[in-house]
Each structure stands twice: as C-alpha cells, then as structure tokens.
C-alpha cells in the first residue's frame, strides 16, 4: 500500500519535471529555428566566406563591418533605406488615417468599399510590382502615361530616371500597404468610446477640433502600432525594388537589403553580405524598440 503511494508520488514528481518541457517544446523548436539561422548569419558576417574561394575562408573579426564604412554604396544605401522608410511611413499613415475616417463615416456602399480595400492585401508584393511595372511602361503603351496624356501630362519616365524611380517605388509600396494601415486604424476608430464625442458636440466643438483634440489622441496607440509595423517592413523592403528597378538606375533605389542580396547571391561574397544584413537587422531592432516604447507611452496616456 505505502509502496503504491510512493510510486504514485514519484510518478507525479517525474511528470512535474517533464511536463513543462513537453509544453515548451513547440516554443523551443521555434526559438531554435529562429536563432540558428541568425547565429549562422552572424558567424559568417565575421568571416571572409566567399562561395567560389573556399580555400580562402578565414575568421576576420569585424573586417567586413569596417569595409562597409569605406564602401560608398553603403552610405548611399543607408541613406535610401532611412529616407524611404521615413517618407513611406508618413505618407502611408497619413493617407491611412484619411481613408479610415472616410470609411468610418456614413458613405454609401461602405461595406463594398471596405471589401475592395482588402484586395491589394491578397496580392503578393512581387505580383503587385510587376503589375505596376507594366502599367508604368514609359511609352504610351503604359496605361498610366496613356491616361496622363489625356490631361496633357507626361510621359513620365517612371523607372528610367533616378528621382522618378524612387517615387515610383513609393507609389507601388503605398498601393500595396495602404489597406493594411487603413484597416487597423478603422478598427481603432470603431473601438473608440462615444462619450467624449457626445460631450464635445454638446460643447459645440467643430469637426476639426473633434479630430484634433479627441480622435487623434485616442487613436494614437493605433497610429504608433501601425507605424511600427510599416517601419519594420519599409526598412527591409525588397520584392518591389527587385521586381522593378533592381536597385537602379545609378543605384538610386539600392537599399541595404538589395545591397546585401547583391553581395550574397549575385557575387557570392557571403561574409560581406551577411555583415550588411546584420546592420539592417540592428537598424530594424533599434528603431522598432524606440517605436514600441512610444506605443507603451501612448497606450498609458489614453483613458481606458
């Protein structure tokens, strides 16, 4: 009898030891699956790994990172990465707020419009980019230039000139991601409390004041959240650029991601490419950390 109790206790103790690991297993697998490639990449970034010269493989510490400082393309790519992100996030969040307010209001056919908004989200970015590339053909065969010619504009040299290429990529990226921004903000608008609005209307506040002093502060956590998502994506935008300009012309649309790709997969200089990737990763981590702190503060300030 006593023996039996002891055995059961031992069993329970054993399961108490094992069970947590079993429950954690998926998380551990996931973690290893994420950490391992990262660790390999970080390690290679400290080596001279160059695919077609295996005999020259050495551990070079931070040489690849130091080389970057002397590489003119790197400073150019860094500038474009940050500049593009800033402009893209401001434009997309700005337009996103406008679109969300519009869809939140009493517009006829609102539900149809909302459903249509979802469409760009269902198209893979590469397809989006190729679609736009066809529409942006620089001759009159391109539908955009053809339409512009009716109002006496253009033709615009969408991808063939440096500044135009940057704007073209911004347009394509915005078209593909605006719905995401608008939908999150629309969800935010619908979740806002109604009392402050009623109070404001009783006090006779105008539409602009209501937006400025009630909607915007209440919506702030959502805005920061969606801006964080968009920042992370814009910093490492790749597919749209690769499918349209491949970083050109004259490297005008080469960001860190495109540069790392070229080094790694076009020139097989994986050590250098990984170092560039690590810099990009660091950038994403630091900037999104700052934005997350902003989000915390914004969320605290909003009345529950």
């Amino acid at each position: 009898m006593g023996n039996n109790i002891q055995r059961r206790r031992a069993q329970r103790r054993r399961s108490r030891v094992v069970l947590p690991y079993v429950l954690m297993a998926p998380a551990i697998v996931l973690l290893v699956g994420m950490v391992y490639p990262f660790a390999v990449g970080a390690y290679y970034s400290l080596t001279s790994y160059w695919l077609q010269y295996p005999q020259r493989f050495r551990f070079v510490w931070f040489d690849n990172y130091i080389e970057l400082l002397e590489e003119p393309l790197f400073s150019q790519a860094l500038k474009f990465t940050l500049g593009f992100t800033l402009v893209a996030v401001v434009v997309q969040v700005g337009l996103g707020i406008a679109a969300a307010l519009f869809l939140h209001g009493r517009v006829p056919g609102r539900s149809t419009l909302r459903a249509m908004m979802l469409m760009p989200l269902m198209i893979p970015p590469v397809i989006t980019a190729l679609m736009w590339k066809i529409m942006m053909a620089s001759t009159n065969a391109g539908i955009l230039n053809h339409l512009l010619s009716y109002i006496g504009l253009g033709p615009i040299n969408w991808f063939g000139a440096t500044e135009a290429a940057m704007v073209s990529i911004l347009i394509i990226d915005t078209w593909g991601n605006l719905p995401f921004v608008a939908l999150i903000l629309l969800g935010g608008l619908q979740a806002l409390p109604t009392e402050p609005y009623e109070a404001a209307r009783v006090d006779g506040a105008g539409a602009w004041d209501i937006f400025r002093f009630i909607t915007l502060p209440l919506l702030a956590p959502f805005i920061v959240l969606v801006a964080t998502f968009r920042t992370m994506d814009s910093l490492r935008i790749f597919d749209v650029i690769y499918a349209t300009t491949v970083g050109g012309p004259n490297d005008a649309t080469t960001n860190l991601h495109i540069m790392a790709y070229q080094y790694s997969f076009q020139w097989y200089q994986l050590g250098r490419g990984m170092a560039q990737g690590m810099v990009l990763l660091l950038l994403v981590v630091v900037i999104s950390y700052l934005l997350m702190r902003m989000w915390d503060r914004a969320a605290e300030r909003t009345p529950k």
């Binding site: 160059w50 620089s138 001759t139 065969a141 063939g160 000139a161 050109g248 004259n250 490297d251 076009q266």
Partner: protein
C-alpha cells in the same frame, strides 16, 4: 501574296516537324541504338537536371519521354528563371550536394566553377568507349570555335580554347547590328561601319522617323553590357584592348575605351529611349520588335522574334549587319554559348553523360532548332540542314545568314578568363549609369570602375 506563301510554308514546316510527322518514336530510338554503346547501362538510376528557362529547355521537355524509353533512367528536372537558376546552382555546387547532376552553363560561367573545382572535365567521358561511340556522336560536327570556347586551361587570364572541355554547347549567339531597313532606305541613312556613323544614324532615325534611334540593354544587372557594347569596343580597338591586362590589372579606363564609351553613352542619351537605364534584354528586344527603335546591337538570335509576325511588328523590315568595326574596319564581336556540363558532386555520372550525349546528338539538336527555333545551331550538320536553311534563309533578305556566318568567323569570347566576370560586368554597368546620368565624366567613372575591380581581384586572390 508574299504573306500567303510564307504562312503556307510555315504550315508545311510545322507539319513536317511535329513529332508525329518527324519520326515515330521507334524510328528515333533506332537512330540512337545505332550508337555502339549500351544506352541502358544506367537503367533505373535517378538523374536530376538543373535548367535555365530558355527556348532550348522548352525544346527538350517534349522529348524527355524518348530519353526515358531509350535509357530507363529516371529523369527529373527543375527549371528556373535565369537569375534564380544561377543562384540556386551556385548554392548546390558550393555545398557539393549534387542536387543537379546535369547543369546548364557556358564559357564565362565555367571560369567561375572550374577554379573551386565544382564541375567535371568531359574529355574522359568522350574517350571512354563504353560511354561514347565517337563515330556515331561526331564531336567534330560541332562548329570548332563554339566547342573550343568551352575549353579552358584553368590558368587565370589566359587559356580559353585550351585544356579540358567543361561543357558541350547547345546554342550559340553572336552579337550583330539589327536595323530597320525600311527606315534606313526611306531616309537614305547609311548602315554604320564605325561608332561615329552609328551615332549619326541614330540621330537621323530619331529626327526623321520620330522613334528612338537606338535601343540597348541598360539595367545594372543581367549582362547589361556584355553584348553589343563590348563587341563594339573590342572591334573599335581592333581586338587590342581587353578589360584586364596581362598583369591582371583592370584596364577599363584605357583612353581608347574611355573615348568609345563616351561616344556610346552620349548616343544612347541623345537618341535612345528615355528609360534605357531600366531596360532588360527582353525589354530592348520587345521594344525593337514593336517598332519603337531604329537599331539594336545585340544577340543575333533575336531575329527569331523579329521575323515572327505573331510577335513582331517589324517582320520583313529588319536588316542585319556586323557591329561597326574600328578604324581597321574589322569587327570582332563577342559570343556566348549555352552548354551542358556535369556537376562534380553528381552521384550518377554515367547517367548524366548519357543524357548529355542524347541531348547534344545530331538528331536532338536538329529537332530543337526545327521545332523550337533553337538558334544558332552549334552543329554544322544542323546549320547546313535544308530545312534549317529554309527557315532562316529569307530573314533580312538573306542578310541574316550572311551576317551571322561572317560574324562567327571572327567572333570570340570577349572576356579575359577569370572567376569574377559577373562582378566586372556589374561594376562596369554602374560606371555607365554614372556617365549616363552625368554624375561623372567617362574618364573618372571608368577610372573608378578600374579601381573597384582591382580591389575585387585582390580580395579574391586573383592578383597577389
């Protein structure tokens, strides 16, 4: 009437070349069984091909059941677009996994793969009587220059055409000048024989016909400058200049190269399409086929598109000429061959070789050309086949056949053999963009390109 006759001929051609009309499968197998080797020696073995998406690949796919029936080999393949293909291939070769046994490669790619020992020499397969029947296979039927382009001694900076054979060519392209004969005739424009005349012709076409005088590839990647431009530069310097000198120092900033490049880029800027810097090779080809440009200096095989009324608005209106030469008047164009090679890490090399032998046999290559316009043929027997002659004989009023024949007499691999050819190509493309957008003078941009290339050659240990 003329159109009528052509479409009738096309129909006849199509009828005579459909697999059913061409030959029953049994006939075809009988042809292969005449070779004194045992085609079934690798029966049941698996074999994987890594292929680039290309007309040649398209021509092979329908014939694969025949290969399986002949050999009993379990064939599998993966076809990828060019950029993705080369990336995937480099990953496979460098990891020595042998995922692809037979690969699609070519001279400039071989230089990259031979140095680290990623691909096999083919001579041992050719010499083994168990594997090859030389009297049946007829290696000497291959056009000598095209076959030897796939040989390399392995010595960096020299030795193309010497040493081991690394791949067997399945198609070849040389670079020629495609021009709109109708426009040139109408406005009395001279077909250019120098770069200055070419710039003048481009100006005149733009002025009179209101279309781009010239179109060319211009994107920063994908062999943007490896074709018409380099052929013109080689010809301009009478073959004296090369991008790397005998001490393995970059020579992109050579005064003659600077002068030619300046004229070339000015011509593109003044008379070319505004979006040149974003044009891939197929964009340039399609723009010419759509009648939007007066000249295109690029692969001769684009003619297959230009002469196809279904895909081209300029069919019958195109003339073909050599790329303008230098003061000596001689044209030395570049060339490229797609070719089949064997991965050194491949597991079933006998099966791999049997496949290559079947795919590069007279019969298979002839069918690739007749059924799928796989041009230019690499075997003399295909080039001289009456059906092939009939297919391409009328192009450009006969000027296509004449021009390509003449071109291949002097055409050669335009590059110094070294593993960093892709990098060189991209460095040079950047210089061209800087000149085009007037960020730098031609002299400064090319000097910087030389310095960049020197650094890469040093980093890679190609130069001490």
């Amino acid at each position: 009437m003329r159109l009528h006759r052509r479409s009738f001929m096309g129909l006849m051609l199509a009828m005579s070349t459909t697999p059913r009309a061409f030959a029953q499968s049994d006939d075809s197998l009988a042809y292969f069984r005449r070779a004194k080797i045992n085609w079934r020696q690798a029966e049941g073995q698996p074999l994987a091909l890594g292929m680039n998406k290309h007309p040649f690949t398209e021509s092979l796919l329908p014939l694969i059941p025949e290969f399986k029936e002949l050999t009993g080999i379990n064939l599998d393949y993966l076809i990828l677009p060019e950029n993705e293909y080369f990336t995937r291939l480099a990953a496979d070769l460098s990891q020595k996994q042998g995922e692809f046994s037979v690969i699609m490669t070519g001279p400039m790619r071989n230089w990259q793969y031979v140095t680290p020992g990623w691909i096999d020499e083919l001579d041992p397969f050719l010499k083994d009587p168990k594997l090859t029947d030389p009297a049946w296979y007829k290696l000497d039927d291959f056009i000598p220059g095209l076959l030897s382009a796939n040989r390399w001694s392995g010595k960096i900076g020299a030795g193309v055409g010497e040493g081991p054979l690394y791949s067997i060519p399945v198609m070849a392209e040389g670079y020629i000048l495609h021009y709109r004969k109708d426009i040139f005739d109408q406005y009395n424009i001279k077909v250019p024989t120098t770069i200055d005349e070419m710039a003048e012709a481009a100006r005149l076409v733009k002025k009179h016909a209101g279309i781009a005088g010239i179109v060319a590839r211009g994107t920063p990647n994908v062999a943007a400058l490896a074709t018409g431009y380099i052929s013109g530069l080689k010809s301009y310097t009478g073959g004296e200049w090369s991008e790397i000198d005998s001490n393995m120092r970059a020579n992109l900033h050579d005064p003659q190269a600077v002068k030619y490049t300046e004229t070339y880029i000015d011509m593109i800027r003044e008379s070319g399409p505004p979006n040149w810097a974003n044009l891939q090779w197929y964009d340039a080809m399609e723009s010419f086929a759509a009648g939007q440009a007066g000249m295109l200096g690029d692969a001769d095989i684009f003619a297959a598109t230009f002469e196809d009324p279904k895909r081209s608005k300029v069919a019958g209106k195109v003339g073909y000429a050599l790329i303008p030469g230098g003061s000596g008047g001689k044209t030395i164009a570049g060339l490229w061959t797609w070719a089949l090679g064997i991965n050194k890490a491949a597991k079933n090399k006998t099966a791999a070789w049997l496949f290559i032998q079947w795919a590069t046999s007279q019969r298979t290559l002839l069918r690739a050309t007749l059924n799928y316009r796989n041009l230019n043929p690499t075997r003399t027997s295909v080039t001289t086949d009456p059906r092939v002659k009939e297919m391409i004989g009328s192009w450009g009023g006969g000027s296509y056949v004449e021009t390509t024949k003449k071109n291949f007499e002097t055409a050669r691999i335009a590059w110094v053999p070294q593993p960093e050819r892709t990098r060189l190509r991209d460095i040079r493309a950047r210089a061209h963009h800087a000149i085009y957008f007037k960020r730098m003078s031609a002299a400064d941009a090319l000097k910087k390109a030389s310095a960049d290339l020197d650094r890469v050659l040093k980093d890679a240990g190609i130069r001490p």
